[in-house]
Point group: C2
Amino acid sequence: MAFTSVPGGVCAPRGFAAAGVHCGIRHNHDKKDLAIIKADVRCSAAACYTTNKVHGHPIDIDRAHIADGYAQAVLVNSGNANTCAPGGRELALATCELAAAALGVPKADILPSSTGVIGQAMELAPFERGIPAAAAALDHSPAGSLAAAEAIMTTDTHPKQAAVEFTLSGKRCRIGAIAKGSGMIHPNMATMLLFLTTDAAVAPEVLQGILSDVVPATFNQISVDGDTSTNDTVLLLASGLAGNAPLAPGTQDHATFTAALTEVAEAMCRELAGDGEGATKLLECTVNGAPDIQTARAVARSVISSSLFKAAMFGADANWGRILCAIGYTPGDFDISRTRVWLASAAGEVYVCENAAHHPYSEEQAARILREKEIDIRIDLGLGGATAKAWGCDLTYDYVRINGDYRT
Amino acid sequence: MAFTSVPGGVCAPRGFAAAGVHCGIRHNHDKKDLAIIKADVRCSAAACYTTNKVHGHPIDIDRAHIADGYAQAVLVNSGNANTCAPGGRELALATCELAAAALGVPKADILPSSTGVIGQAMELAPFERGIPAAAAALDHSPAGSLAAAEAIMTTDTHPKQAAVEFTLSGKRCRIGAIAKGSGMIHPNMATMLLFLTTDAAVAPEVLQGILSDVVPATFNQISVDGDTSTNDTVLLLASGLAGNAPLAPGTQDHATFTAALTEVAEAMCRELAGDGEGATKLLECTVNGAPDIQTARAVARSVISSSLFKAAMFGADANWGRILCAIGYTPGDFDISRTRVWLASAAGEVYVCENAAHHPYSEEQAARILREKEIDIRIDLGLGGATAKAWGCDLTYDYVRINGDYRT
């Protein structure tokens, strides 16, 4: 870690409180289903959304509410995506009104977000109970972030949070995040829902510029199953309470903030991919020696998206032919003849492919390496200086079980 | 069937013999691993190959041997793809020499083809035994085609053949096919190996034109797992022994031949998709009302390629939100608001989605329909007159099992 990791998730930066409650959107009383993240002050806001032509009703409202560059609270439910759902737009607007009243924040500064099943009408009644309850439970401590992270989980097996600390022109700043996966994850956007907070002072257009630079290198480089969700959303709120001079492009502070945001984003990518539906292994693919960044990113994504390679990783089978095949069908015209491949983990590293052909290695050592929980796939195309990473997971029996009967 | 189905696979048209033997490329003595298809006369030849930048050594040789538009024999092995394999080009050329000697056909009229594991060196010794044995076993009867279809199988659960009969200017003609799947199947090309024969008289450039028209509508519309193989090949040999007047574009005969080839191709698509690795169900998606053919094809492919939808079909779960999601992330800019979706099978039909939102239906009836082995997904985009089909299969525990440990 180049930056100091700190606890507290979205509550780590100054000026943010969060809460998560159960209000009845889900029938399971043990599962929280409603989260609020509220800033003490109006924040600069930036966002990236799914590229799916089918998208959730809340996303239309988000876009409208963030159009002026500012927002103050995020309202999120799990259990229902409010997508292709009758009356979904009106319902999302009604939840914003409830949140505005409970939080004392203008309706136009509330960003709604939903995740869960598609095509089922959502009821307002749970929100009428849940929004005041969540507002009353808002907490600036790490417990608030944890509750919110729990409330947005769907098939995730654990809540996902990260935060780092860094310095901008002498002022201590933080960036925090919570996220949920874990199926229907594929560029663009990879994450279904990811919320970032910072206390750095950043003007809206600068904040959006940074987020738009970081997302293609991180969240758009995750794939769990090749399916781009209808509700993928990344939101970033900046409170400015750290007191730094507002970031200007081209400055050291701008570079530092971008690096810190990238680090948080990469940490969340590893969390999201490693907790992909049914996953037993995190796959991290690093491509070096690519002729350009687009090729580097595309090759890395291609490898971690291959069903055949993902199944081979589940079986701890060093079937590097699957990797070469996936590199080969990556769109774009580039030479594959100098490709080298290594497989690595905490148990060591094995060099399996040289110049696109077999490189002698011990199958026993390879199997030992691939039995670990985190597998690095290192590829050098030998063509240039561009590099990229992508994150994925293995394809397992449990992925099939989870999605064979998702709705029951 | 618009045309008469006949037995005999690639031996159904006049002038073709075939054979399949075990020669030791595979260690399992019960599994044939070498096939030959030989025409009595030199044939017009057409081909389509994988678009993967990594491709088998035999494909380079095929391209060279077919460049003049003619060929007389196809030599195919399973058990080793001869791809990313040391000395693979020299070995493929040596097998052509062996076949030329055994068949009495010029080496430049032999088309070699390989399927199996990538990255392992192939030995010549099994071919030295196997090619003369296969040449001696060549058979013009349906038994010859069946033996060849068996010899090219990898993880296929059954041999795949089809043939139809039709009339060109008063002359009875036939088209026959054998194919193998069944993993690493995704446009373009979908089929790993598919060999077609006909006794119709067709000049090479006309034959290639027809094949190039039929492949995008059929073989490129199959997906088993989203992985485009390194060795996908479709070959079509035309002996001319039916005695028809050579086909000319724009004529009724040309249209009839194209329709017959399409019918054989669609039959093989259903065979290949339905026998996808681990599959329990064939999925056939028909898109109507698309603004253009590209959109129709892309939407149909997107639906049958979605891991989430495939897993839902395995679970007989009428989760139509997965279908809408896959339509929505199909590349291209089109309106999804008028989309209607039906699910159908031998057990009936259910209307699940109207104007991109829920249409009331009985979950019981839907479950009954989805418990069948062949599921039709019917989509109407309500935007225009273009239509297309795509074929896929469900995603199952067995897909994971087969590919978790493919090499052992």
